[in-house]
């Protein structure tokens, strides 16, 4: 009983530390921006609107229905829902991974001995997770309001996919931080690759079933695509997801997080001065 109490107390304290660092980071970002506390929401929103605008713009140029996806995805989703579901998963991975990759830009809280580098990474991820979740819920709400067609077939799957993506992003980012200690150019290259590969192979703009079967293996290696497609499937269970599997996403998330935590456990001290990028 004593052991359980100690574990609960420890977990509660850990959670309080993560929440405090998350608030700290939001406050400092708000202080440095003219948008104040809205900064963390406006940043990703403008990027999401840019992508949606680009996709709708192409549809208009092509002469198809300007309010629809302009392709076969139109049968299952509104274009805004389709794009925002892709964006909120792919950019969740991108933001969390890049923050981890950048080492610890937010170093000051490490002055307090109770704060460990992993707490900071978790707090920053929490902020990204909250911002993107709020954004996607708001967009879904607005679209549902205007189209009056609420649909969320598998909420459990949606939450699981969201959390698995966070786990995978943390694991990936942490692993590469340590690998990057060997060569800082490696980090720079991986960072650039993440920015491009994620945008073009994670299914933000397309659906897997639209890709010819013989070309699918070139993109289905990417676990983020599985996250994006499963997230869309959780909203509409009629959405076809060929070659997409939840077990692949779970496997990638657990393997990456497990591997990175082993690396972290043995090399934690390296993260104290990992800010050489």
């Amino acid at each position: 009983m004593m052991l359980i109490n100690r574990i609960i107390k420890g977990l509660r304290r850990q959670w309080m530390i993560i929440v405090a660092i998350a608030a700290y980071d939001r406050n400092r970002q708000a202080a440095g921006s003219s948008l104040g506390s809205w900064e963390s929401l406006i940043g990703p929103m403008q990027m999401m609107l840019f992508f949606i605008g680009m996709r709708v713009g192409f549809s208009v140029l092509r002469g198809s229905n300007k309010f629809a996806a302009g392709g076969s995805t139109d049968m299952y989703f509104n274009i805004v829902v389709f794009m925002s579901t892709g964006f909120c998963i792919a950019f969740l991975f991108r933001n969390v991974a890049i923050k981890s990759l950048s080492g610890l830009k937010l170093k000051a809280p490490l002055y307090y001995p109770r704060i460990k580098p992993l707490d900071i990474l978790l707090a920053l991820s929490l902020n990204d997770m909250r911002a993107l979740a709020t954004l996607s819920l708001a967009i879904l709400g607005i679209v549902y309001y205007f189209t009056w067609s609420f649909r969320l077939d598998s909420p459990g799957l949606a939450i699981s996919v969201y959390l698995l993506t966070v786990m995978m992003a943390l694991g990936f980012g942490l692993s590469v931080v340590f690998l990057g200690r060997l060569n800082k150019w490696l980090v720079k290259i991986i960072k650039r690759l993440i920015q491009r590969i994620i945008i073009f192979t994670s299914g933000i703009f397309f659906a897997t079933f639209e890709i010819p079967a013989h070309l699918r293996p070139f993109i289905t290696w990417n676990p983020i695509l599985h996250g994006v497609e499963l997230f869309r499937y959780s909203i509409n269970n009629e959405y076809p997801i060929p070659d997409i599997s939840l077990s692949y996403l779970i496997l990638c998330s657990i393997l990456m997080l497990g591997f990175s935590l082993i690396l972290y456990r043995t090399n934690e001290s390296l993260l104290l001065d990992a800010n050489n990028d």
């Binding site: 406050n27 400092r28 440095g32 923050k99 830009k105 002055y111 960072k191 001065d273």
Partner: protein
Amino acid sequence: MSSNSFLKVQLMAILSGFVYPVSGDFETFGSLSWPLGGGGGLDSKLTIGQGFDFVSSIYSDCLEASLISVDDFFDVLQTRSIDSSTRLKDLVKEQKDFFYMMLSILFSFDIYLVPSDRSKYLMTREARPLRNLLNKQLSNSKSMVTISISNRFKREFCNRGIVLGPRGEMLFYGDLEEAIDYEQQNVKIDSESEENQFDIASHLTNSDSNSDQSDAF
């Protein structure tokens, strides 16, 4: 006490968790403070209130056990014209030193760590109220570890002394007065190196530029 000031700073840095020991390990029982009065930890863009909220969330158990109330904390700060809405970067140096020291003393730790330069500050006239508050916290069966070179400070706050050789070997451990005598007779202090203070955890600050912005695309 040691003639090797770098060694002392390293010891303080290891106890504070900023540096990992090359070999061996150290264990603490109870709560350990950060180096008292150190200017790290908080972003200069934050207000005093936000900084306080942050630290008090992390050390909530130490705040609950404290003999100084939060109201007293803000009252003492008010005597130096420091308000909860003031930004840290708007404070002048004297106010900053006072705030950081007061923030450290507010929490009730089992072990307080006092670097050499901060002990010097604590013995100044401006820091007299802080000295009294620190004594109050220490009266509750707390411990303090310091690498201070000020004998006046040591006599006011300490009762035991350790004298280390230049390579870290223990030369003497015992009563403070005896330790001071031993140091004066056997250890040659290089006053010049003592003046060269090493800034503990000076790299634990945030740059003003928001680097995440450059990562967009």
